[in-house]
Symmetry: C2
Subunit: 328 residues, 2 copies
Amino acid sequence: MLAEFDLIQRYFMPSQEASVSDGVALGCGDDATLLVPQEGQRLAVSVDTSVVDVHFPREAPAFAVGHRALAVALSDLAAMGAKSRWCLMALTFDQRSFADDDATQAWLADYARGFHALSEQHATTLVGGDVTSGALSIGVTVMGEVPVGEALTRGGAQAGDLIAVTGVLGGGAGGLALWKQGERDLRHPLLKRYLLPEPRLSAGIALRGLATAALDISDGLLADLAHLRAASHVGAVIDIDALPLADGLENALGLKAARQSALCGGDDYELLVTLSSDNIAKAQQRLAPLGLTLTVIGRCQEVLGISATDQADISGYAGWQHFSGEAP
Amino acid sequence: MLAEFDLIQRYFMPSQEASVSDGVALGCGDDATLLVPQEGQRLAVSVDTSVVDVHFPREAPAFAVGHRALAVALSDLAAMGAKSRWCLMALTFDQRSFADDDATQAWLADYARGFHALSEQHATTLVGGDVTSGALSIGVTVMGEVPVGEALTRGGAQAGDLIAVTGVLGGGAGGLALWKQGERDLRHPLLKRYLLPEPRLSAGIALRGLATAALDISDGLLADLAHLRAASHVGAVIDIDALPLADGLENALGLKAARQSALCGGDDYELLVTLSSDNIAKAQQRLAPLGLTLTVIGRCQEVLGISATDQADISGYAGWQHFSGEAP
């Protein structure tokens, strides 16, 4: 058995001392880390837990487990228009589930590699952690900053605003379906969408001042749109034909299931935003250099509730509920 | 099955909207919470995971589980001399382990009551959370503030400094021993020490400017002292006779096991501090109004390593290692 303290040292302590330029006055290794928040900024904080067999498959590559646990947490900062700065990582895992210490260390090294690669990509310093014994689970707390008054919330949408999404939809659910069919190649575009989602942090920042409301699509478009509708006190009409489907999704699942995945699948981690029609072109121009599309998929309206342009009945769709234990 | 979103709403959303006076610009319910850090302060952050059967017994009262999960995290802020301000709580639990929804809700209500009672006691606003399905585990991220330059770290002890502890030792291990023998009355002083530890936040703040180093005793006095010695590059000599034993501990376990519990038991969540002999009386005066003793138990020395005044060999003692799975 490897000791907790050694594991933290070996895999999760930064190789170089974090510095004041990272906003870290005292790094890992004491009872708490001391951070230096910037003046004129709100501190945006969120926590997400990823549990084996609930949020990711037990056999998922360790690299993807580490990447994904951080990605889903960062996605919440993206949805606020915040710049990500720091994170804390609480890893619970069971050493007895590995053949030996070498296998444990190989898994941890790969896990840490996935976590650190994404944290570096988004300049997010790991400033605290905990490693405990138990069923595999990762809790990630993310902390970011957004200038006072510029945060994107769920509550600002108005009747008449367009509803738009970054990137493509349905890939999370499509990837899960392929995984269940035995696909294991992480280079497969759908599997990549499912296991290696990219938090849209740059897009969130670019949409400051343009989006009237925003959240990330983790539970499924309709479920998350319901949160936005409730917070903004608006209704919405969705254009099913306009849904930007993930590459290969229709081929893999057929059109009907592809649309269902896009509407209810969850795990897409794209941003769902509302904005006035005057601002849509400007928003698209800002996202283009990031390699991201922004697709209009509907419109907010005064009449509460949700409907579809083509009169299809979408009232029966529901979002992913982790507690129901039902995959989309 | 109860839905995750409903559970969060019912048990963990503050009954009253958190306000700017709590340093909360946007409370729970959006993708992230927006906080307002104070100028001139460092932000102290830490995360702790409490896992069933590792950190607390499966049959522990839900109230104690909630209290304890927050207490052990707050203890890290206490050790920094930080004032606690905010926390995030990630609860993972298995609804299938309850007889029915009523039993689930009774457990959750009691758990939340324990958590909230302690958070209110320490003016710590719950600003984020996550409820997921899986083996029972609670991850708590705590955030506090400490004036620039006033944080207590592990690294400031010097040869000649006295070593002192707040309160009493060994109660955590003693309580665990009693629990294993079937004791279930939470009013029992030792059981209370084990299941309802009190984070020493006021003591940490009172010791600013006096303690040269500090940390909290979670892994056991000797193990935690080893962290302090390493960070401060000092040795230490401990006076075994001076250890302040928890009330009833010697009666329950006998002197030898009582001392072993005090040295290695862990889960005491008292503060271990170093300070110059000039400051000990002043420090004791500051803690007296808090109802807390500060007992000198040894001295730092230049010769590295650890020894005891009575020449007893304490080199064989080791601290609690969660990963070894061995209780003290």
